[in-house]
Symmetry: C2
């Protein structure tokens, strides 16, 4: 948990490094049983800037991954938007890299997220995280459907590329997938064009 976990006021901030990216404060209500949060609430979040376009094609998928401490997943950019969050008492160091063609290509944002934060990641921005707690449940909404056959169309950048400047917690001991070990360095990534997204 971050210092200030409970009873934040619902709010959204634009991430200046990566246009279209938003960071939400989520109110978490604690009591004798544990806690409760409205993790996503369309009617309250759209007026704060959550893009209506997220729902334009009426597609919806909710993914959940469960990971042990030091697991590092990423960095993956796909042709869909993501609204990501932590669904339990754990926390992750999240990192994002803009892989869209243009002046922001290669721009990075990183922050620690726990259940009291939500992050909107626009399509074409690579997403990744390292687990800081013993375990973590990481939950996200996307607006298009993944398929193994389409993987060649997704874009990836290597989490360990030093030019990104991401301050991972313990990158030597990171537990990663074989696929993630082999992603290209930023200098070898083909920027995603608007018409591919």
């Amino acid at each position: 948990m971050t210092d200030n976990f409970f009873e934040k006021t619902l709010a959204a901030r634009e991430i200046s490094q990566i246009p279209g990216m938003l960071e939400f404060d989520i109110p978490v209500h604690g009591d004798n049983r544990g806690w409760f949060k409205e993790n996503f609430q369309k009617e309250k979040m759209m007026p704060l800037g959550f893009p209506e376009s997220f729902f334009a094609e009426e597609k919806l998928q909710n993914n959940v991954s469960f990971s042990r401490k030091n697991v590092l997943r990423g960095l993956h950019a796909e042709p869909w938007d993501k609204y990501i969050s932590v669904a339990d008492g754990g926390s992750v160091l999240g990192a994002w890299v803009d892989l869209r063609e243009g002046e922001n290509f290669g721009h990075v944002y990183q922050t620690v997220i726990d259940a009291s934060k939500g992050i909107f990641v626009p399509r074409g921005v690579a997403n990744g995280f390292q687990v800081l707690s013993d375990t973590v449940s990481y939950s996200y909404l996307v607006n298009d459907y993944w398929a193994l056959e389409l993987k060649p169309k997704y874009a990836f950048v290597n989490y360990a590329d030093p030019t990104l400047g991401i301050k991972w917690e313990d990158v030597e001991n990171a537990e990663v997938s074989e696929a993630d070990k082999n992603h290209p360095l930023l200098k070898d990534v083909k920027a995603l064009k608007a018409d591919e997204l």
Copy 2:
């Protein structure tokens, strides 16, 4: 975790006791990092019976509650549909009571759920669960917006009503909210009419 946690085939079963209720098997993919699941995937689940009407009003809320062992939440029926699931390695004993007017009023279904199951609960069916693991993250999608002021319009039934016949794990030591202690017995619940839902 239930015995058969990983790599189920995506499937849906109708719950005969409570019309409109569906139980999904969710494929969970394990690897060196933990696991991953498509917790909800509209395109794959609609052909299996997930009702298109869930999306008719284009409202969406995702709630997450985090609870300690023995916590018991419920039983609550609201004028919206719910798709519920477990988002971490924990498990709960779920219980549902039909509070809709008609021949199924008072019918009960109960089952243990972990991350490899998803339950669709139609509006007017009361929802509750008791935590079986040390902690649990419980996540659900709903298609209308809760408000404290509207609480008098929601329907509740007392989890401890023996006429329900729910076999809770340890009802004496259940950790519950003050509100949940004071809900009416089934015999005193006013059935929900179709036009209230």
